[in-house]
């Protein structure tokens, strides 16, 4: 071993000690790219699943555009394949305008607004006017809004859609328990009942 190598080791050590001290302080920096997490609720983590924060809007905090590159590619393919309906996550009415411009003059293609964020709930009226229909993400909304308010907000959205005569879809895990069971849970049956009563498509 040469003496220069030993010097290098010293430099290496000093640098590492600096980084260790910076990590221990947990200061948030723009260069941070790794999170260390502890599992609070056990389960299985699958590919392509959504990641979001409890009570926070990740989309607005990252400043990412609602229509990404893959969305545009999928949109062009879906027009070629003759797809009837496209659902897209929307925060405000401008997002739908953008998508309609991208889609061009295709009367057969209908664009439904997928409501997953609290910002979309705030801008619901303007979104409803621009879109051909509404999709409510029941599971995701329950993480953004207090549970006691969720039912009222969904009722409001359904009633508005009925007044405007626009279709509304409720996207939720209905009868998911039947993957492992022969009979559905009673709560799932009551979910289905309420969907029929409120005439959700």
């Amino acid at each position: 071993m040469k003496s220069t190598d030993d010097d290098n080791y010293m430099v290496y050590h000093r640098k590492r000690q600096k980084i260790k001290s910076s990590i221990s302080s947990y200061n948030q920096k723009s260069t941070d790219n790794m999170l260390l997490c502890e599992v609070n609720h056990a389960g299985s983590i699958h590919l392509h699943r959504k990641v979001f924060l409890l009570g926070k809007e990740v989309v607005t905090e990252i400043d990412s555009k609602t229509i990404g590159v893959k969305d545009i590619v999928d949109l062009s393919h879906s027009i070629k394949l003759g797809v009837n309906i496209i659902t897209v996550l929307v925060n405000n009415a401008n997002n739908i305008e953008e998508l309609k411009e991208l889609a061009g003059d295709f009367e057969n293609l209908k664009i439904f607004a997928r409501i997953e964020t609290s910002e979309a709930i705030y801008n619901f009226d303007s979104i409803l006017e621009m879109s051909d229909g509404i999709v409510i993400q029941h599971g995701l909304l329950s993480t953004k809004i207090p549970h006691e308010d969720l039912c009222l907000i969904e009722m409001y959205m359904i009633e508005k859609c009925k007044l405007k005569e626009k279709p509304i879809l409720l996207q939720t895990y209905i009868l998911k328990s039947m993957i492992n069971r022969k009979m559905p849970l009673t709560t799932e049956i009551s979910n289905l009942d309420s969907a029929v009563i409120y005439r959700i498509k």
């Binding site: 980084i19 260790k20 941070d32 790219n33 997490c37 502890e38 983590i45 990641v51 409890l54 993480t143």
Partner: protein, 269 residues
């Protein structure tokens, strides 16, 4: 698909985030074949991916999912960082910037809940070596290991509490990270520890080998005295993950870390 159509289903929803173009094209072609002789045509709904971050890679290789247990530690990394570990999740967007310590991360609408313990930065090992102007990565890492462990042992050796007088049957294997019972008592005799600086005449390689043997003997005493086995597994896991967040991010360095626990307080490196 035939059975579904025959049972009365007339609309299909495709989630684009799960599929590639070729895959959903096949699906639609199959649907066309099924509906050839029928009057009605099905309605097809496409869900565009959207901006919400998703899990792009899980664990090692091409695994589709990992099962996690309560209190297990998991790293969430941006997609571009090339790390492969059994307890690592790659996400396609940088969520580290909008997260604080203590926040709760939900995966797939509360199927799994994670709590953020710390936020850090991962840096590639090669970039450090480039700065240092050293080509071989192994040399640095091996030396770093030994320096670390030597410091640790020196610290313990100088400490009043630490003494290697008592022999034990336990043996810590740094490769498998397990504590093994050793039947050979000859290797575990008391007072084997030599300070390496005393052997000046030996070459560096021989000294390093000697260090390794001495280290093992030191570990077995430290572990037996101060750390219970169940605790050790937990602590070791924390340390491994914390260490990989720092610049070296090297598994073998992390394996050699040991916590020293005194009577009432915890001293650790």
């Amino acid at each position: 698909m035939n059975n579904l159509v025959n049972s009365g289903i007339n609309s299909f929803r495709v989630n684009c985030s799960y599929f590639h173009y070729k895959e959903y094209k096949k699906l639609l072609e199959d649907l066309e074949l099924i509906y050839q002789n029928k009057h009605d045509k099905p309605t097809v709904i496409f869900d565009l991916k959207g901006p919400i971050p998703r899990i792009s890679k899980v664990g090692i290789g091409k695994s589709n999912y990992i099962d996690v247990k309560k209190h297990q530690l998991i790293k969430i990394v941006h997609e571009n960082s090339k790390i492969e570990d059994s307890d690592i999740i790659h996400v396609d967007k940088k969520i580290a910037q909008c997260v604080k310590v203590g926040d709760k991360i939900l995966i797939d609408s509360s199927q799994c809940i994670l709590k953020v313990i710390s936020i850090g930065r991962y840096k590639k090992r090669n970039s450090i070596n480039k700065k240092l102007g050293v080509r071989s990565t192994e040399k640095i890492n091996s030396q770093a290991n030994y320096n670390d462990t030597l410091d640790l042992i020196d610290e313990f050796y100088n400490n009043d509490e630490g003494s290697f007088a008592n022999s034990s049957k336990l043996f810590f294997d740094p490769k498998s990270l397990e504590i093994i019972e050793e039947k050979d008592e000859d290797n575990l005799e008391s007072g084997v520890y030599h300070h390496l600086d005393d052997n000046v005449d030996l070459s560096l390689e021989e000294r390093l080998k000697q260090k390794e043997t001495n280290m093992r003997k030191a570990y077995q005493n430290i572990i037996k005295k101060h750390i219970s086995y169940s605790e050790y597994d937990k602590i070791n896991q924390v340390e491994r993950l914390n260490a990989s967040m720092s610049e070296e991010s090297h598994a073998s360095t992390c394996k050699l870390y040991v916590y020293i626990k005194s009577n009432n307080s915890e001293k650790y490196r």
